[in-house]
């Protein structure tokens, strides 16, 4: 498993760069992960990330955009505004989680 340095910290990632150990994540790392993909986190971003983390902890898989909307209460449009173009993957990446595997 590759190790890479993000925000001055060594983390384990898969071949694409997604974190493989959710325990290595914290909110400071999120700032660094976001900046690595050109995003600057606002409090609104962080609320979405906290939902993703909490949902992953109970469900064992990353929420899809549909779930982030239906269960988390963050509208689809907002997700596309905060994490443009590819919200599902970007949210997962910044939250230190695997890509969602659900179709919808």
């Amino acid at each position: 498993m590759p190790v890479t340095t993000i925000g001055g910290r060594e983390v384990h990632v898969d071949a694409e760069g997604f974190l493989t150990d959710p325990a290595e994540w914290d909110e400071d790392l999120a700032t660094a992960l976001a900046s690595a993909i050109g995003l600057e986190l606002t409090e609104r971003h962080r609320e979405v990330l906290r939902f993703l983390r909490a949902d992953f902890a109970t469900q064992g898989e990353t929420a899809t955009t549909r779930r982030v909307q239906a269960v988390g209460g963050f509208p689809t449009r907002l997700q596309f505004e905060l994490f443009p173009t590819k919200p599902a993957k970007k949210m997962a990446y910044v939250a230190g989680l695997p890509k969602p595997r659900g179709c919808v």
Binding site: P2, T4, T5, I6, V13, E16, G17, F18, A36, I37, G38, T65, R66, R67, Q69, A70, P75, T76, R77, F80, P84, T85, K86, P87, A88, K89, K90, Y93, C103, V104
Partner: protein, 166 residues
């Protein structure tokens, strides 16, 4: 220090990839493939246009879209004895079961799914001939339908796009 390993989201590539989906079926089971694929494409940053034509027009017709049905009649993939499939009540039963299965997987209903596709940036277009055949106007259609257009308009608008016919 080596470059950190970061996923390539290809934001700057501006690939210009576009997808055109022609929805021509009005059965519950045939409504979903187009919606699922549209949603997936939009989530990957692909500009997506859906054209609703013939029976697919039901998917965007207000008084029909919440009431699409699934029938096992003539559908060998249900693996039921075909002689039983036309029995009274079978379509209602199969429809109910399919709706339940979809709901359990948290798949939205057709009207909700249309909302989601639009919220993700998808474009909905209604077929002019289908509107004329059904004597329906814009007021009868889902409010996010951007226009009632001819087949030629749609083909022109989606020049260079990848195309799915469902």
């Amino acid at each position: 220090m080596s470059t950190p390993l970061v996923p390539r989201f290809d934001d700057d590539a501006a690939t210009g990839r576009r997808l055109a989906i022609i929805c021509s079926k009005g059965n519950l089971d045939m409504a979903y493939p187009g919606l699922v694929l549209a949603n997936a494409a939009l989530g990957e940053g692909v500009e997506t246009h859906l054209f609703f034509t013939f029976w697919g027009f039901d998917m965007i017709t207000k008084r029909r879209m919440g009431d699409l049905k699934f029938t096992p009649v003539g559908n060998t993939a249900t693996h039921m004895p075909m002689g039983l499939t036309p029995l009274p009540g079978m379509t209602a039963l199969a429809t109910r079961q399919m709706r339940r299965t979809l709901a359990e997987l948290d798949i939205p209903t057709v009207p909700e799914f249309l909302e989601q596709v639009v919220a993700a940036g998808g474009h909905l277009w209604a077929c002019r001939l289908s509107a004329d055949m059904n004597r329906l106007g814009a007021e009868d259609l889902h409010e996010s339908v951007e226009g009632i257009i001819s087949a030629s308009d749609f083909i022109e608008m989606t020049e260079g796009a990848q195309l799915l016919f469902i």
